[in-house]
């Protein structure tokens, strides 16, 4: 019933990823940080792994539900199937 009213990213578990230019990527509803280096940041989501590569990557903000990666974003890729929290 709710799904008929609200979009799936609100009611479901799917991650919502917002890319702003090449400066920042916001990942909402992630399931944990898998890897973080200055050149790479990877998050587990319900739909699989989200991998962000670039240079001088910072975690501008990080909470259990939301993460903001800033820096020079070069690539955003998805891989694998979703899973639980690492």
């Amino acid at each position: 019933m709710l799904e008929s009213i609200f979009p799936s990213e609100v009611t479901g578990n799917a991650a919502r990823i917002t890319v702003t230019g090449t400066q920042s990527v916001q990942v909402e509803q992630h399931r944990g940080l898998v890897c973080y280096r200055a050149e790479e940041a990877a998050f587990r989501t319900a739909d699989g792994m989200v991998r962000i590569t670039g240079q001088q990557l910072d975690l501008r903000a990080y909470t259990a539900e939301e993460a903001m990666v800033t820096g020079v974003i070069e690539c955003l890729s998805f891989s694998g199937n979703g899973g639980g929290r690492p």
Partner: protein, 381 residues
Amino acid sequence: MKWIKRSFSAEGLNLERLIRRAAEQGLELRRISRSGRRMTGQAAEKEIPALEKLAREGGWGFSIGSRTGFGAGLDRISSRRFLISACVLALLTAIAGTQLLWYAQLVNAGAYEGDMRLYLEEVGVVPGALRKKIDTGSLRDQLEWRYPDVAWIEVGWRGMTLEIRVFQGVALPDGTQPEGGYDVVAARDGIVTGIVTAAGTPLVQAGEIVRKGQVLIKGEERTGLEETRPVAARGRVTARVWDAYAVTMNLSERQTVYTGRTFRHTGVSTPWFPLLREKDSGFAQQDTSVKSLPLGGLFLPAVIEWRTDMEAEVRIAQRPAEAVEAEAGLAAMRKLREKVGRSDDFVDKWVDYSMIDSEEICAVAYAERIIDIAVSERDTQ
């Protein structure tokens, strides 16, 4: 206070795990940056102990840094308490200073300045007095009452300065003439209809006939029972005056009458000499009409002329007396208006006619006006 942040650094393997565990415990991390095995970031100051405990339990090295952002500002302010206190004190002093009178400025007070300053001190209008206790309107009224010779006084604020501007006015010229007064005399003949005396003693009244040059207002005024003083007489004396202008016109006029005989001649001439000699009509008196046509412009400056001579006789004709009267009357009135200069103040106007030797009619236009005939004797000298 969650908005006061403090920096931290953590060091060790698998720092991602520390980040995850912190997030799972509800800790919010900001500005995380990683370089090799070392990670720096910011967290709310009150969450730092929990984060530190988490790091120690996991075997990560952890160190707490300084406050950042607003918290750092608070630290800087708290380390400069004296400066902040001085600024606050200066601000409060400035605010308090705007509530006080700094200076009372007198403008154009002239001879009254000393007394006015004493009076202002007396009523409490001195530097340091509270502005709200100074009623500028009331102060203005008091000063004007105190100095009746002053035309008027303006009292107003200009910043923290109370500006009191004195207008002493310009006195009318003193009519007293030490060497003797001046009379007001009549500029022309007339019958006085009214007199308003501003200075001096009136000598005429309404209804009197006055002549040009007659004294209307004497240049002296009584100062005691038997004493008088000379003054420059001034006043307005209105009087009925009359203007006239005469125009004479002849009853007969010269008329040209054509007999009907004409003489036509065609000739060619140049600017220097006639090519064809003109012929004479032989009429004793004639009017001539000439039509010309240029032949070749500048290249051939010759002109063809067609001349018509019409024989005429000059006769003396008598005009109707009524027509001559009307024409003379109109002409006289027009010339009278030109002489007077304006006609909108005419009280009355008329034209008298008279016949001269049965040959001419004389029309005299009259206009009656009421004007000011007073003129100062000084101006006539």
